[in-house]
Amino acid sequence: MNTQQDSRKILEDLNFKKQQLQKGLPIITTTSSSTTQPQTQYEPQFNQAARATFQQAQSTSSGFFILTDSNFATIKLKKLEEYLQCVDSFENPKILLEQYITPSHISSHFLYTIQNNYDDIRGKLVADLGSGTGMLSIGSAILEASHVIGFEIDSEALQIARFNADEMEVQNIDFLQCDVLTDFIDSRFHKAFDTVILNPPFGTKKNAGIDIEFLKTAILLSNTSIYSLHKTSTRNYIQKKSKEFNCKGEVIAELRYNLDSSYKFHKKASKDIEVDVWRFSVIK
């Protein structure tokens, strides 16, 4: 079911890009970020391997990727996505915890961008807040983080995460049961991590603002950078908050996030929401 929907999504996306091309429009939309250059300026500097990888990302992704002339990643994007397709999802998703797995397609592109464009995973101490069944933690471990700690409140999710990590034979990873919202108020984990990665709950009517609470904790725990996903509709608010938290925030990619109807109250078979990929750097 999942793979069918994924394939359909990829096909739709390819068709959309084809139409854009026929109209002569660029496929890749960049944000107003000051660090982003028009891609033509960068392309000639690309080596062949990096170029192939970028084309792969470009042709299969529902988001976009910033071209840089660096290539820090040691394994190929496609390989990473293949590995992450083996990560088991929630058995009984809980509505209150907004449990749905970050799709392997989005996770692999998200993590690959963090490593390839910013060199923020390999050899680093990485935290994953609200790690669920371990998708982003395991992906970071595969991309050779020195050590990853996944923080999660739910026992069932943790058991699946542990199983997933063991199954995939990644050793550089710990999962820890705690409450991300309350257990870090006065903690030795403050500034302990080089990189903090999270796909926070987006918040529902019952727990509005929970993504900001997660982000606030993430920023406390990092000494360098934080990567997070937030609804595009909240972009201005997130920008404002990141300044309050003494961080420099920029949107590095835009995604269409395909939530399968995990819960009964999702009426449509699947629902697309627009999501920003944020990078926050801690002002030292």
Binding site: Q171, Q177, C178, R188
Partner: protein, 124 residues
């Protein structure tokens, strides 16, 4: 749970606990998994760690030869020490055991390698 993670854990969240660190470490089952030694990582992470908790961890698993004090300036060139730290912090997995609050003796169980640091509402 790797002993690197142990180094950061406290019971400070418990009501009336002042320091809650270092936690007592009780290991019932452990295993060793060899991982790639990255001296730069150990060097970088060492200043974020507490040496007294490293010593407790070393004693608990029977790793010997760690000095009583750490000199961060000279230790960066001490490959032998960095290698020992790598083994202690990243290669030993506590599968089953518990962490114990030094002030209240509250037990945090470790099962299947996962420490449970959750508190009941009446404890915070």
């Amino acid at each position: 749970m790797k002993l690197l993670t142990y180094n950061f854990l406290t019971s400070k969240c418990i009501k009336k606990v002042k320091v809650g660190y270092p936690l007592k470490l009780n290991i019932m089952e452990q295993k060793v998994e060899s991982t790639n030694f990255n001296p730069e990582f150990i060097q970088r992470v060492l200043p974020r760690l507490d040496w007294s908790a490293i010593k407790i961890a070393a004693d608990s698993v029977g790793c010997q030869g760690f000095p009583d004090e750490i000199n961060l300036e000279t230790s960066t060139n001490d490959t032998e020490l960095l290698q020992k730290l790598h083994h202690l912090l990243l290669e030993i997995e506590v599968v089953t055991g518990s962490l114990i609050c030094p002030e209240t003796n509250r037990i945090f169980p470790i099962t299947n390698g996962i420490p449970n640091m959750l508190l009941n509402e009446d404890e915070v």
